[in-house]
Symmetry: C2
Subunit: 201 residues, 2 copies
């Protein structure tokens, strides 16, 4: 009986060991897919080198809304009118830890027209319909020669559907202004209290 027990325990040990190995690899594959998830948010480019419009940005982390109403920028604001600005969730996690916009940071700006100008909460500006979509993308790989490695893409100032692809804007069109925020890696953090509050002290 002693020998029988030994044999059984040997089998049991091998079986349990095998299961541990399986569980180890399963856990490993989970953590690998998590570490690699930034790729989820990286924009893709077509054969012509144009960016394919990223989707799902309305569920990214919101950082703020500058508002430039057409009524204050006759005949029309350069970016009409609300600018809802988001950062991709992976880069946000990195920012909260380091205070830096990491390589491959994506910032999305969705424009919305002013709708009503009065409501029960007071006089002001209330969002109407979507009116445009733009992306800023920081990538040393894609933009080694752009200031701060940021490039800017506009998918149209228009109602949905926005354009499916966009070519990189010339430096004079976007970076030339953003460079004023060089101390904050070309992001106008002075208009984004959410970002300022999250920056490590």
């Amino acid at each position: 009986m002693k020998k029988l027990q030994n044999i059984i325990w040997e089998y049991v040990s091998v079986l349990a060991g095998g299961l541990l190995v399986i569980l180890f690899f399963a856990a490993g594959s989970i953590s690998v897919s998590s570490a690699d998830s930034h790729a989820m948010f990286e924009p893709k480019f077509n054969a012509a080198g144009e960016m394919i419009r990223p989707e799902g940005t309305r569920e990214w982390v919101y950082i703020g809304t500058p508002l430039t109403p057409n009524s204050l920028n006759a005949p029309e604001a350069p970016f009409p009118e609300f600018h809802n600005v988001y950062i991709d969730p992976e880069s946000w996690g990195h920012y909260k830890k380091t205070g830096n916009f990491r390589d491959r940071t994506v910032i999305a700006k969705e424009l919305t027209l002013v709708g009503d100008t009065a409501a029960t909460s007071g006089n002001g500006f209330f969002m109407g319909e979507f009116s445009g979509f733009e992306i800023a993308y920081k990538s040393t790989k894609h933009f080694p020669n752009e200031p701060g490695n940021w490039a800017y893409f506009s998918f149209g100032h228009q109602p949905e559907p926005y354009n499916a692809t966009a070519a990189k804007q010339p430096v004079a069109a976007c970076a030339a202004c953003h460079i004023a925020a060089a101390a904050e890696d070309m992001v106008f953090t002075q208009y984004y209290p959410v970002v300022r509050a999250a920056k490590p002290k």
Copy 2:
């Protein structure tokens, strides 16, 4: 030897069966905790029945920003001035499927003062510092007698730190206005294009 093999296989079978049972319950507890994850976002209440201020709302799903500047609402807007509005992620998932704000929906409103009124992007309104925090919470369990089962909480119109707890506002203070949006379950969806776009057709 035949008998020994049978005994070993019996042990192995029992062991494997036991492991399957363990895995089944482990998977069950994972899916239970997932199905129950809405509890992550449900506000807690103290012994006095006051809501304890929820944290992490800046990473919820953003739905829009009404703006009521003090300059248009002398001497001061009822809600100064930008209203950054978020919905808890679980209730957002439910809304996208059903078009309804489910029981236990939490909507957070963080107020921000106007900072600059001109930038390279034009004349307008740019966010300055945070200025207040409020919650709307729909709960049949907690508020069986409130209109739509929504109750409203203000944690102060002030810079951070906001108040740690808040008592439910009287119906006349909040619900009396929100009831104008009764067709949209007391949420002013006309000011939130993100919500309108997500509503199933």
